[in-house]
Structure formats: C-alpha cells, structure tokens
Subunit: 150 residues, 2 copies
C-alpha cells in the first residue's frame, strides 16, 4: 500500500484495521493456548452469544451476516463443543444457543489475550491517549445506539 | 444488552460497533442509490481491491477469511459486473481482480456515504474530538503496522 493510499483511508478503515489486529492477536493467542479449531469468522458469532442464550437470527443480525452463514458457523462451534443448542425457555418451539463450559474457557482466554493487547497499546500510545480513545468510542457508540432507537 | 454488559465491553467491541455502524449505513445508502445486489460481506472484499488489481489470496488475507470464502464473494462481485478478472501483468500464470467502471461508481458512492457519516459524527461528537479520534487511530495503525514488520 502506498503512502497516498494510506492517507486516503477513511474512518471505516481506521476502525477496521485495529479491530482486525485484535482479531488476529486473539486468533494467534487462542492457537497457542490449544484452541486450534476456530477461525476469525467464528469469533464474530461467538462473542455475540448472550450468557442466557441467543437465537440464531439475533446472532446473524449482530454479526451482519446471513442466517445461513451464521448457521454454518454455529454448527461448527457446536461440533467443537463450545456451544450447545437448547429449547428457548420463553418459547418452546424456538431454539437458543448457549456457551458450554469449554466455551466459557474459550471466552476467558480471549478476554485475557485482549487485555494483553490493550496493555501493550496503552504502553505504546500512552495511558492517557488510550483512555481518551476508549471514552470517545464509548460516546460514539452511545450516539449510534441512540440513533438506532429513534 | 444490559448496562453491565455494555460496561464490560472491551476495546475489540468498541472498535467493532462503530465500524459495523458504518457498514450498515453504507449498505443502506448503496441500496437507496440502486446498488441492490451486495451484502456487507462483499464490501470487505471490495474495499481491499487495489487500483492496479489484487490477487485472491491477498484479498482473503486482508479480509481475514478463507480463500474459499473470498472466492465466492469475488465470483458474486464479478457476476454483478463490479470487478473483472485479468491475467497478472507480472506473472502470466496468475490472475488479478480489478474494479470495472461500475465498480468505480460503487466505490465513489460508498465514499460519499461514508463522508456523510463522518460529517454527522463530527457534528455530534464535535470536530475536535473526531479529529483526535482519527489521529489516535492513525497512530495506533502505524504502531500495528510497525509491529507486523518486526
């Protein structure tokens, strides 16, 4: 990529690149810790699963993928033993997916890796700038969520 | 999502949510402008295509998806006339994909929509905070790219 292309990067890419760097670090870190059966596409589904269980349609919406793609990712996570499918306690005809014990271990490992990345970035950017970044992103998310409701 | 879950959000989610909001706005805006044959998954491929052409393996790496998934997305973009496949001028046996005229129109439309989103966020957050956000992200990306090289 040329310097000129880098300068033309817009906000989308500026958010995506550090996000993808986090995903790559989690991917790498999970492999080192023995979670070798996942691809980044699975994290996107995984991280959206609610502690009390989520519906497939919710997961697809939150990950911005089709229900069909989400279904394939969920099937893989189930086959690997990270999630389980149960009847929805609020609607017997519907199904929810929920983390298993192994899934919670995976989540814990991912959080630890992410904490490590945050700590490195805090050291490199300075605590103050990282805190400021997080506060601005938090305020931006509040505006986005406000906008989505209205 | 409860307030507690919101507070537990880590940096990954804090970058992902505004990024996904941008993707959703581009998706919506493109549909309004008559580009109705794309899903967000296609943007991820599309935005990585180099003006002089890209290899499928590069696109898959940059989008953090398998070569097989990237191939399916590229096929759809080709079928819709946004990109074309050509022999690589530097290696006759390899192929590259490049934007068509229609693809460049799509890119222009996406940039316009993104500019609009940035302008709204600048109004809501304040110009100064948005500029600061972009500068911090830019510095963070430089650190990430520096790290990737070493």
């Amino acid at each position: 990529m040329t310097q000129n292309q880098k300068d033309r990067r817009m906000l989308g890419a500026m958010l995506r690149i550090p996000f993808q760097a986090i995903v790559a670090r989690i991917n790498e870190g999970l492999r080192t810790r023995g979670f070798t059966d996942l691809r980044p596409a699975h994290f996107v589904i995984f991280q959206h699963i609610h502690p009390e269980g989520s519906h497939l349609t919710e997961l697809a919406e939150q990950a911005q993928i089709t229900k069909q793609s989400a279904g394939a990712l969920v099937d893989h996570l189930m086959a690997c033993g990270y999630i389980e499918r149960l009847p929805d306690p609020n609607d017997g005809r519907a199904k929810i997916v929920r983390l298993t014990e192994r899934g919670r271990e995976l989540e814990k490992a991912a959080r630890e890796i992410l904490s490590q990345v945050e700590q490195e970035w805090a050291e490199q950017l300075g605590d103050e700038r990282l805190t400021q970044l997080k506060q601005t992103l938090k305020d931006l998310i509040a505006l986005i969520e406000e906008g989505a409701k209205s």
